[in-house]
Symmetry: C2
DNA sequence: GTAGGTGTAACCATTATGGTTACATGTACT
DNA sequence: AGTACATGTAACCATAATGGTTACACCTAC
């Protein structure tokens, strides 16, 4: 099991838009950087737009960030692309036997623990901004010269 | 996306075995508490056995914990049932365009962040023991009386 | 040797993913 | 007006993972 790469691609899209501020970031341009189909990018752009992270308009080429990069966290992207539902990182088997003491109480007992684990993970995502990612990219790019 | 319920079922199995110490926990008995097929339970028991968490023997009915419940963490179970591979909670799109500065460096930049998030989640799982779960169950069971 | 367990392999329906094509819609420009 | 080119979506597909099911080989105790 793995969290969908939509998340990684979403980060890629936003980073590229910011990196390419002077140019126009069309779905085709972004798709060539991500190495996928423009329609896939447009679907994701739709989600990012809905979440208020980017501005795109039908018929007008290019997307722009709706916020400054330090104000977008990876958690924002994570929520936007809908890879994990709230409290549903871990799935629980349904309908355990209510006539068994363990079966009857296992869900209620486990769920808060699962939620705590999920929140710890999401907290880390919330502490990283798009600006951090962009800096990471440019650092690596410069040290390669 | 969700982490397979094998994890929750694995916890259920271990908890039930401990709860039912005086009785014999056969795959059929466990299956009736989990509400699934005995073969599913046996598959999971195989994983738990391989991980050194339980003792089962062909032809002999019933499984026992191989360790005391305070010495088994949810992280142990998580690893045993193989729901998430190391460093692979988040998947990354492969083959981004190496001719684009962003495409070239995005993977290297993102991966450590993803790993950090995953580790934070796993750390929480490592801090909870089977004993904790068992206590939770018995507490709930008693307050229901 | 029989009964009743465990250990596995084979198979299946369902679902999510990522990709692809196609086309309706919208804007800018001539 | 009409053309070029973009976004927004719907429909469809191959692939993989999941959870379940059946079947049977193997082992132990009686």
């Amino acid at each position: 099991m793995s969290i969908s790469s939509r998340f990684a691609v979403g980060i890629h899209i936003l980073t590229l838009i910011d990196f390419n501020q002077e140019g126009t970031s069309t779905s085709e341009f972004i798709a060539s950087s991500v190495n996928t189909n423009p329609a896939v990018i447009r679907k994701l752009m739709g989600m990012l737009k809905k979440a208020g992270l980017i501005e795109v308009h039908p018929g007008i080429a290019g997307a722009k960030l709706a916020k400054k990069s330090p104000d977008i966290t990876l958690f924002d992207v994570y929520k936007a692309v809908n890879v994990v539902q709230e409290n549903e990182l871990f799935s629980v088997h349904d309908k355990p036997n209510p006539n068994c003491p363990v079966g009857k109480n296992i869900q209620e007992t486990i769920e808060p623990l699962f939620t705590a684990a999920q929140l710890a993970m999401e907290k880390v995502l919330g502490s990283v901004t798009l600006e951090d990612v962009l800096k990471g990219i440019t650092n690596k790019e410069n040290t390669n010269c």
